[in-house]
Amino acid sequence: MTKDTSYHSVMSRKKEILKNSFGIDYQRFEVSPIAFDYEGLMRSCGYSLSDVRKIQLEAGVGNTPLVELKSITGMVRSISAPGKGARIFIKDEKACPSGSFKDRRASLSVYHASKLGYKGVVAATSGNYGAAVASQAAKYGLKTIIYQEVYDSRKVGQPEILEKTRACEAYGAEVWQLTVGPELFYMMLLALEETGFYSASLYIPTGVMGIETLGYELVTQLMDQEGRFPDMVVIAHAGGGNVTGTARGLQKAKSYQTSVVGASVDLRGLHMASDYDFNRKSFTTAHSGFGIPFLTWPDRTDVPRNAARGLRYLDRYVLISQGEVFYATELLAKLEGLERGPAGNTSLAAAIPLAKELNRDQIIVVQETEYTAAGKLPSSQLTFAEKNGIEVRRGDPKENVPGKRIVIPERIEQMRVEDFPLDKIRQSYIKNAKEAAKGHQPVEGDILYLAEDSKSSVDFVRENLDSL
């Protein structure tokens, strides 16, 4: 009997389809309608940090260089108060097989899928993750299907995503280039049901654990090179995996005092599912359109419980404008000899103004770079922006308007971050958790869970629950 493949019918079979496609029984970890056993879920796939390091070593993933950005640090110091201007180091994740830290996520998930006997993997992603999955699947002899949101209804495609299509196909993947819309998820479910492949979601435990090695590595490298722990690590924030995995790795390397800062490109005001807004943005990931909703409600995703929980780990969350990221990308190429993709420089752009706040003997680590190619560089992305009606000019980045104007800083001292208050995010998160529990009255265990999951306190959670 053939199954009904209409949108509503497939979506109603979501739970059953997903259960078969991960090999994880999420029900086991549910504690109440609010709380679940997060660490239990993370442990359940059975890999220790040293197992992950071994798997990644064999797959050629990780062990990327940690490089000090001396010229950029010098520029920052020239505009900082006396005694200020931390040293900036960057983890050159471009050196991973497909050119980004996403290989760490993909390596463990694809290895796991292969071990469980799946013949192929499916992922819905318009970012570097698709290429990472396809690259790792090629290595393990698995088939790959990637669903990408590429075009608006005029068939105009973001150059950066068109490059990802090319990269995925270069690794032998079947790629579906789709128009704008959340139905990406429906496509993924259809494929999972039809093929019996593994769902290499970004939000399963292996997809997050694979990044723990990044946090761990940067601490051990910095210890070797400089004999100290990083004072601050700046991490691009989209769905939360990068922050979560890196922060967990920092903890496993005993770097408990390091300040964990998330950074997203400011695209506030643009609707992520809008056909009209789609090509009015230059950044397709690591932006506020993912960052803020995923922080306020991590479980909005394609798994019953998201293993990526940024709010659990963040000490600070900052926004930076598109123009500042392009500017930082140019500085990295012209002053440090590292030509890298703009999206991967979101955390670098944020680190520059943040370094001004820290002392000269302190160290900030920017934990990623990504490969660059046609479509993935300032010139192609700005050319595209202008073609789509965006004004591009030089000036003070505070004149930036997402979807209308991109302003490239004239000077480094014009760069600044906007702090997005974490308490505001925590309040929304607590409200969303209560609403999702549909009438369940939070008990003591729920309150403890919410405090831990939002890196706040029992008092903070109580106060906010009372005010709802």
Binding site: S6, Y7, S71, I72, G74, M75, K143, T144, I145, Y151, S153, G157, P159, L162, T165, R166, E169, G172, A173, E174, V175, W176, Q177, L178, T179, V180, G181, P182, E183, Y186, M187, T195, H271, A273, S274, D275, Y276, D277, F326, Y327, E330, L331, A333, K334, L335, A374, G375, L377, P378, S379, S380, Q381, L382, T383, F384, V392, R394, I408, E410, I412
Partner: protein, 109 residues
Amino acid sequence: MGNDQKLDARRGDLVQIHKIILTPEQRSQDLPASTKAVPYEAWIKGFLLEDRAKIGSTVRIETFIGREISGTLVEINPVYSHNFGKPRPELFHCGKEGNPNVGTKKVKP
């Protein structure tokens, strides 16, 4: 579509097909107006399974992983056309201030 675009495809040619996945009525209800008004579409590449086919005809392809999919033939030997963009004058000044040995003093950006 390039100038050297063929109009006829033969079995085994690399082609791109187009499919309407969902009409506006069949789409998710929870969409912004501009998205809800248009169909949900897909483009996929693969090797042609028909002996001969013209642009615009309904064809079957075998994808890179060996799956069979049908749709409307839209391109033969599809080209990756994303590029490096145009030089951007807004970026010419970047990095000069940090390296006194770079750039000429004769040209002020």
